[in-house]
Symmetry: C2
Subunit: 210 residues, 2 copies
DNA sequence: CCTACCGATCGGTAGG
DNA sequence: CCTACCGATCGGTAGG
């Protein structure tokens, strides 16, 4: 049993290498446009040799998508029990959500573009996951409304939609290594979302009716 | 020359039928996962017969993506010369942008997912298009800042990013035929974006320092 | 628009 | 992990 993988080594196992390269190629070319021979060539081996490590192409996609979902879950769901104000909680959720995407741009791209190509079981798992994330954000916002910090007339579904749009779309434009950290983006988005783009009209006197 | 296409007929030409079915299949299965035989079968003809009407698979993708870009351009760029307040202009832009997506969900999906698979010339055209749209929204927002209706400390790039996120992401969740019209979504998003989610603190008295 | 076909490439396997 | 190979399917064409 010893020696199957380098135990104290920092090198990823061959299997891990395959997942990583697959994630990159799938994000660049798309799942169906990437052949197993393309993938093998990037790893310096023959196409058939991949099957000593993995069971098939579908497993690669399924694993990449499931890992992405798990990363979001691990980043976000612990927030439920943390003692924060509603605004802090929302900001923290956006920040972590953006961080997962920013630190895994390739995986995020595969996740958002290729999940529809999964076979039925992992496909339905992803759909359930998406429902769970939407419910999570709706809950965050509903808590803020109940606490009286968000507008009482908020359409919670649409507000959650807006927040999710702002963080998810980042996979198309965010540039890791650029000037903006995921926290910067989250702070900027959250400020705009909470306070609005509009200049508030200050000290407007109460006027007599017409 | 007469009779090439039914002149007064409302039936689309075969070529148009091919584009429409291709748009649907590409959006459902992805470009590379759709074979020309799949497409032909949907039209009730043989695979090879497609080539009497089109030059190749790439032309289909290129045409679908370019049409989508044109639809956005036609909907949005006329706004530049219309006499509206900055808020009206932004709301109208979001409304039209969402309408293009809502009324062409399949095309929008192909547009956002498959443009990377274009050959170099149409690919660079799409990239230029995207730059143009970003500039358009930044300009809309900058005008509002100059007019004093948006916050002076707005990060215009990020604000445009936020607006674009909110409208573009709709291709993933909007359901045509549901309760919400694109105008409803635009009104809801615009209200939240301009005024913010937060309950404004009204009549807060000016306090003495500490 | 069909029949018949082209070379290329696909995911995957057997046997070593 | 390689060699050699499988059947299936791909985009596209010739000739009608």
């Amino acid at each position: 049993m010893i020696g199957d993988r380098p135990p104290g080594s920092s090198e990823p196992s061959r299997r891990e290498q395959i997942y990583r390269v697959a994630g990159r190629l799938f994000s660049e070319r798309g799942y169906h446009a990437t052949s197993m021979r393309d993938l093998a060539a990037e790893l310096g081996i023959q196409g058939g040799s991949l099957y000593a490590h993995i069971s098939g192409k579908e497993e690669l996609l399924s694993e990449i998508v499931q890992r992405a979902a798990r990363q979001f879950d691990e980043a976000l769901f612990s927030l439920r029990t943390e003692d924060l104000t509603p605004q802090e909680r929302l900001r923290e959720a956006m920040s972590r959500h953006l961080t997962v995407i920013a630190e895994n741009m390739e995986t995020a791209t595969v996740f958002f573009h290729e999940w529809k190509h999964l076979s039925p079981e992992p496909l339905s798992a992803v759909i359930s996951w998406r429902d769970g994330i939407e419910a999570f954000y709706r809950e965050l916002i509903a808590q803020g409304v109940e606490a009286g910090v968000y507008r009482l007339d908020l359409n919670i579904k649409m507000a959650a939609n807006l927040v999710l749009s702002s963080v998810n779309w980042a996979y198309t434009w965010y540039r890791p290594g650029g000037q903006l950290s995921p926290q910067d983006v989250a702070a900027s988005f959250e400020q705009m979302l909470l306070s609005g783009l509009e200049q508030p009209v200050l000290e407007k006197p109460i006027r007599e009716k017409k």
